[in-house]
Structures are given as structure tokens and as C-alpha cells.
């Protein structure tokens, strides 16, 4: 029988600033990719089995009712030995990914910094602003157990956080995002071409761009457009800018800026305001404020589009909500759980995008299916890293 296996790490695209892996470093990622796939796919179902066969019956016996929410399920599951061991393995896998990525990146930090400098120096498409503070929601913990988060610097002017992030994407997603781990951005291009054939946005804004992997495809697809990508973290901007330049996205400008304070941009400046797997890394106060700012800088008739994992709704079984919440509590995603329970539609409506202008659509990563696998969905899905999303969008009213 043909085995379902991920592509090797050597299939990753090595653009000019990519942290090249040695043989054994690639093999280490291959092990982790295989382990992740095993944990979420082969034995991921064990969590549901534990729930159905003993956790739920024990809960009913103790409380005389079913769990009311995903938190009650989590507390009950966290007492189950099988789930605990599974979680411990998964947490270790995340930690090992960080260690390997940092090892690859930091052993060649001087060489990488030199390459990045070549693409950054003297170009006005990278604007850093040391006055931009690290937001509280980015500083509370190191998000997805990435030591130093997006803003950590090993030394002044460092870009290694970006390089480490780029290095590990292919491994943790099992190649599901394609050779450049840009399947999300490619999906945006494919979606808009079907949705609005011939539409050519003049100005595009990407909020929380990190290394820009999801905005480069848009910049390349609309070479006449002025594309701006902002983030609060300088290290990922330094790396992302060099990466974008190396890939030929010269119409893409990276600016260090807090999306809550985009006063530099006039009302209605952009035709498209985009976020990709960003909203879940904010906070309860920052998210609506950023949506409001995004709507303000969006032109009448323009598009706001947010790519995220599906929101928890009353229709979603509580167990599924619980398992989708794993990263929130075990992989340092402290806003993940609260964000997925928010009424995004109402928040967008309150910000000036009426409900009848909004839409929700499913989006899958667009990658070379000849080489890269279709991301599993349903029971086999690795929720924190799945290459399938829900997009929450709206076309801003013209008048």
C-alpha cells in the first residue's frame, strides 16, 4: 500500500536568505514532521477515545450532567493519563522544533546577517522605528514556544527570529504550505482572481506580517500595486524584507508599526487590508481596535480579509472546541481560545463593515500538489498548524 508520508525537508525552497540546513538538521526536521503527523494523525484519535470511553462517563458520574463548555472538558481531560502523555509528547515536539531551528539559524548567524544586510542596506522599502513598543500581548509569553517571540534579538540589529521562524514553517506544517511555506498567500491570490476577476487593487496593507511569507505572493501577483506590510517586531521585518527582495517582491514595503496606531495612513488609503493567522495573537482590547483602524484606512469599496482557523460557534461540538484549543494552553497561544470564541462578524460590523457586506469562506493552502500533500482535515487535522482556514471578509460600503 502507498503510505501517507510528508515530503522531505530538502524539498524546502532555499531563497537567498534562507538558513540552509545541513544534512542532519534536515533529518532532524524530518523526524519532527513525522512525529507531528503521527501524534495528530495516527494516534490523535486516542484523545477522543479517552474522552468517550472514560473522561465523559466519569464527568457525568461526578456532576450528573454533560460538560457545559470546552474549559470543563479541558480540566477533565487534563486528568486523563493518555491525554497527558500525548500532550507531553506534542509539547516536546514543539520545543524540539524551536531548538533545531535556532541551532540551524544561530550557528550561521554571521553569514545570514551578512546576506540580509546586502538586501536591506540602502533600500527605502524597509522602515524601522525603534519608538514602536512591543505590545503587551506579544510580550506576555513567547508565542508558540518560540524563544524570544518575534521581537527577541540575540544582539542589536538581529534578524535571527525571522530566520528561525521561516526555517521551521515547512517542518511543522509537513510541507502543507508548499516549498516557500506561502500556501496561505497563494490561496489569497487564487481566491481574489476567482472572486473579482480583473480587480487590481492599487494599495494593499498586510497587518502583522512577520516574515511576509503570506504577502509576497500578493505583491508578486499585483506588481503594479503598492504593498505595505507592518509588524511591531524589527527582527522579523529585517529578515522578511530581505526575503521579499530576494524573491523579487520589490513593490513590497516593510514598516515597523503598531496596527492600533496607523495615523500615518490617511482614511481610505488602502484598497485591501489583509491579516493572515494574525488575529489570534492579539488581545481582547487590541483586536477590535486594530479592526477599527483597519476599517478606517480601508477605501470605500475596498476589501478586508482575515484568514484564521474557524471560529467556535454553538454548532461546533464542545469536544472539537476543546481539541482545537490545545495550542492555547500547551503551546503558548494565550489569546487563541478567547479569540476563537469572539463574534468577529459583530466586531467588524461595529467597526463600520455592516453584516450584509460581510462573508465567510473556506480557504485551503494553494501549493504544488504534485509534490506537497493536501492538508488533512477533520479528525486527522493538526489544528494549530493546519493549512485550511476560514476567511472572514467584507467589502466596505461604497458610500
Amino acid at each position: 500500500m502507498k503510505q501517507d508520508v510528508p515530503p522531505p525537508y530538502t524539498a524546502v525552497a532555499r531563497h537567498a536568505v534562507f538558513p540552509a540546513p545541513r544534512h542532519d538538521e534536515a533529518a532532524r526536521y524530518n523526524f519532527l514532521t513525522g512525529l507531528n503527523k503521527y501524534l495528530s494523525g495516527t494516534i490523535g484519535a486516542g484523545n477522543k477515545l479517552a474522552y468517550d470511553t472514560r473522561v465523559l462517563p466519569a464527568f457525568r458520574a461526578e456532576h450528573g450532567r454533560d460538560p457545559r463548555d470546552r474549559f470543563e472538558i479541558r480540566h477533565a481531560m487534563n486528568r486523563d493519563p493518555w491525554h497527558r502523555f500525548w500532550s507531553a509528547c506534542k509539547r516536546n515536539s514543539m520545543e524540539m522544533r524551536q531548538q533545531n531551528g535556532r541551532s540551524i539559524t544561530l550557528r550561521q548567524i554571521d553569514e545570514l546577517a551578512g546576506k540580509v544586510r546586502q538586501f536591506n542596506e540602502g533600500r527605502n522599502t524597509l522602515e524601522l522605528d525603534p519608538a514602536v513598543k512591543v505590545p503587551r500581548y506579544q510580550d506576555a509569553v513567547d508565542i508558540h514556544c518560540m524563544p524570544g517571540c518575534y521581537h527577541g534579538e540575540e544582539r542589536p540589529g538581529d534578524m535571527s527570529a525571522g530566520a528561525n521562524y521561516d526555517s521551521g514553517l515547512f517542518a511543522t506544517t509537513g510541507g502543507g504550505l508548499g516549498a516557500l511555506s506561502d500556501g496561505g498567500g497563494q490561496a489569497l491570490v487564487e481566491w481574489i482572481r476567482k472572486e473579482r476577476p480583473g480587480w487590481a487593487p492599487k494599495r494593499i496593507l498586510d497587518l502583522g506580517c512577520t516574515v511576509g511569507h503570506n504577502i509576497v505572493p500578493l505583491a508578486l501577483a499585483f506588481p503594479e500595486a503598492e504593498v505595505i506590510a507592518i509588524d511591531t517586531a524589527a527582527p522579523v521585518l529585517r529578515y522578511g524584507h530581505a526575503r521579499a527582495q530576494a524573491l523579487g517582491a520589490t513593490n513590497l514595503r516593510f514598516i515597523q508599526m503598531d496596527a492600533e496606531h496607523m495615523g500615518r495612513f490617511a482614511d481610505g488609503h488602502f484598497d485591501w487590508v489583509q491579516t493572515t493567522m494574525y488575529l489570534h495573537e492579539l488581545s481582547g482590547k487590541a483586536l477590535p481596535a486594530i479592526i477599527r483602524e483597519g476599517v478606517r484606512v480601508l477605501a470605500p469599496g475596498g476589501l478586508m480579509f482575515h484568514l484564521e482557523q474557524p471560529q467556535y460557534t454553538d454548532d461546533m461540538p464542545l469536544y472539537e472546541q476543546f481539541i482545537r484549543d490545545w495550542d492555547a494552553f500547551n503551546n503558548n497561544e494565550p489569546f487563541w481560545s478567547a479569540m476563537h470564541a469572539m463574534d468577529l462578524k459583530q466586531i467588524m460590523a461595529d467597526a463600520g463593515l455592516p453584516l450584509d457586506c460581510q462573508f465567510v469562506t473556506g480557504v485551503r493552502a494553494v501549493v504544488d500538489r504534485d509534490i506537497f500533500p493536501q492538508a488533512p482535515s477533520g479528525e486527522q487535522e493538526d489544528h494549530g498548524r493546519a493549512a485550511v482556514w476560514n476567511a472572514y471578509g467584507a467589502w466596505k460600503p461604497k458610500a
Binding site: Q3, V5, P6, P7, P8, T10, R22, H23, D24, A27, R28, N30, F31, L32, G34, L35, Y38, T42, I43, A45, G46, L49, A50, T53, R54, W82, R84, F85, W86, S87, A88, C89, R91, N92, S93, E95, M96, Q98, Q99, R102, S103, L106, R107, I109, D110, A140, V141, D142, C145, M146, P147, G148, C149, E154, R155, F329, N330, N332, P334, I371
Partner: protein, 120 residues
């Protein structure tokens, strides 16, 4: 190495900020599992490296370290190696997988069955 080079070995293992959940109920078990999974990963790395050496020797008869570093498996080789890793992981994770399967059945202790068989 330039003067401002960092101690990359030490820095690679930086701890992520944020209290680590208690999964197993005792710190020694947590540490043992961390070591075990890391060593399991290293065994997988060695297996893959040996496979690279064997494939290169098959193809060329003699090889250099540079050949190993530059080795890029073609699609068939990549598939075979990924299956090797998958099989390896399935073997080392057998205990967890079988515990999962055990949840699907109701079983009496073998001692009970033994007593039962003795008299019946």
C-alpha cells in the same frame, strides 16, 4: 567567527517565556520524556544519514562528506526514507498506540482469566 558572535549552542536551547504545563505529574518524568524524545530524534537522524551514505555508495562507489551534505533525495528515495521514518516512529511509539487501542476494549486482568481457566 566575528567578535560579536554568539554562543550558538547555548542560545539554541533558550527556554521560551511562559510557564510550562505540568503534563505528567512529576518533573523527573517530564525531563526523562524530553531526553527520550530528543534521543529518539537523534537515532532517526543517524538512520537517515546512514541511508544517505548507502544510497550514495550504491550510486557512486565512493563518497565525500560534501556529497552527504549536498544529498537531495529524488521523489522515490524521499518516499522510501519518509516511510522508514514513519515505521521507526510507529515502533518507538508502540506503547502509546497500544494503550490507545486498549481504551476500546473491556479486559479483565490476565490473573483473573488464569484462575478461571484453571478451574474450567
Amino acid at each position: 567567527m566575528s567578535d560579536d558572535s554568539i554562543d550558538w549552542i547555548a542560545r539554541a536551547g533558550t527556554r521560551a517565556k511562559g510557564k510550562r504545563p505540568d503534563f505528567l505529574g512529576d518533573p523527573t518524568s517530564e525531563r526523562m520524556l524530553s531526553i527520550l524524545l530528543a534521543v529518539a530524534g537523534e537515532v532517526s537522524v543517524l538512520k537517515e544519514r546512514l541511508d544517505t551514505v548507502e544510497r550514495l555508495l550504491d550510486a557512486k562507489g565512493t563518497i565525500s562528506r560534501a556529497d552527504i551534505e549536498g544529498y537531495n533525495p529524488d521523489r522515490d528515495a524521499a518516499y522510501e526514507r519518509a516511510v522508514m521514518t514513519k515505521e521507526y516512529i510507529a515502533r518507538i511509539m508502540r506503547g502509546v498506540q497500544q494503550e490507545m487501542e486498549a481504551m476500546q476494549v473491556q479486559e479483565r486482568p490476565v490473573a483473573d482469566i488464569s484462575a478461571d481457566l484453571k478451574d474450567n
